[in-house]
Amino acid sequence: MTLKGGTSQACAACKYQRRRCTPECPLAPYFPADQPKMFQNAHRLFGVSKILKILKHLDPSQKKIAMKSIIYQANARDKHPVYGCVAEIQNLLFSIQLCEEELQTVHAQLAFYRQQQQQQEISSTISDTVSQIQLGMPPPAIVAAPPPANGNGLTLFHQDAPSQYNVASNATLPVQSYPSYSNNSYAAFVDPKENNVVNSLWIQQSYGNSVCNNNTMIMQSQLPASQTIVVPQEVTQDYDDIHHPFFDTIDDRQSYIDSKEAYDSSSESSLKDTRQSVEHVADNELKNAAACFSLTSINE
């Protein structure tokens, strides 16, 4: 209904109700005349009086946002007369689930490739070490290896999957806690045969505020940053062959360092020379040990 002599058109709300649209019409800013369906949906679900009642208790700054959410809710109910907004929530939850499954798969693949890469590096280091020993060069420093990655990325999302749904039942601002109408949850009045999203929404009701942040932190990769190398088995075996049983008590590293000094002084750097120099060092060690402990006989 247009005003007499005026250029402004009646809003969709006043048009629908067939009444005069005044400049002070509270619904005019939210229901433009060219979108009648929007108001029809809102009117059908809420009604004008209920909408005005909701807006009445809000600050002017919040009214626009509230109307947007009301209109969204009404449109969702029009699209889905049975489930309304819950249909949207269900779709989103399903999308999240698929994304997480996909992410799990990709992370598992990445863990596999990283493990392969580590093994390749280890094998290449071993071959380098062996070749360096053969050439008479000092072997590289040896450090401990990390535990193998067992697809930790998988367990992260398994553990965190429930908490993703938990958070779904909370609002972003503020965090909401929705009470149950039956013994434990809304699940009681949802048909269990349907097994729809309302079940999953209400069964998991945890109201932690920091779940989102925790999920953000937890979802990062936990694979170790540093790469370390295991003591190569082939190298130690040589020393085991030439060791006197007494030397089992000696730190392998110490004998290694001693033999390293022997390497430096030796002109010929072959494996045979290494054994000889270690034996030489071992003899000296025996004598010193005997002096310290006053051994009467070695053969005893």
């Binding site: 909701i54 509230a66 969204y72 007369p81 489930y83 309304g84 990445l110 909401q176 929705y178 953000t216």
Partner: protein, 177 residues
């Protein structure tokens, strides 16, 4: 389904409205007298007449779900008059966006490993495996975007739009009624 016998005690709706609960009361099966808050919230936000009209437009086997979702939305609106249940939708949309970004980054890493290993002397995955990875990821992405409801409750064949960028047209019903 909680039903209340109107012969013994009126349903929560009739109690609240202070009227006689007749045998054919449309609210009685869904608003038991033991749960007065349920109807109180629904009436506060939507109004009994609107709910009654909505239920009358639905088939009997759909009404319980409709009431439950209305109760959920009403509760959300009572607790948060500004956002209502839309806050949960917003939060979930952000979750989806974040996961998709993470997924894109992880996929980029994976492709880098795959292509990098291909160039090395001992490729870790063969071309067949690469195709498998690609097709698996593609199928998962496709099913994700189609928005299938795998719970069997219904099929919602549209992608959830951001509630802030509202499509003004209401659209037709997307559910199987």
């Amino acid at each position: 389904m909680a039903s209340s016998s109107c012969y013994n005690s009126p349903c929560a709706a009739c109690k609240f409205l202070r009227r006689k609960c007749l045998p054919g009361c449309i609210f009685a099966p869904y608003f038991p007298p033991e749960e007065p808050h349920k109807f109180a919230n629904v009436h506060k936000i939507f109004g009994a007449s609107n709910v009654s009209k909505l239920l009358n437009e639905l088939l009997p086997h759909q009404r319980e779900d409709a009431v439950n979702t209305l109760a959920y939305e009403a509760e959300a609106r009572v607790r948060d008059p500004v956002y209502g249940c839309v806050s949960a939708i917003t939060f979930l949309q952000r979750q989806v966006e974040r996961l998709q970004k993470e997924l894109d980054a992880a996929n980029a890493d994976l492709m880098r490993y795959a292509s990098g290993n291909d160039m090395s002397s001992a490729p870790l995955i063969g071309p067949h495996h690469q195709q498998e990875i690609g097709s698996t990821l593609h199928n998962m992405a496709l099913s994700r975007r189609m928005g299938y409801d795998h719970h069997g409750g219904g099929y919602f064949p549209y992608s959830p739009s951001s509630w802030n960028d509202q499509n003004p047209s209401g659209g037709g019903g997307g559910e199987n009624v």
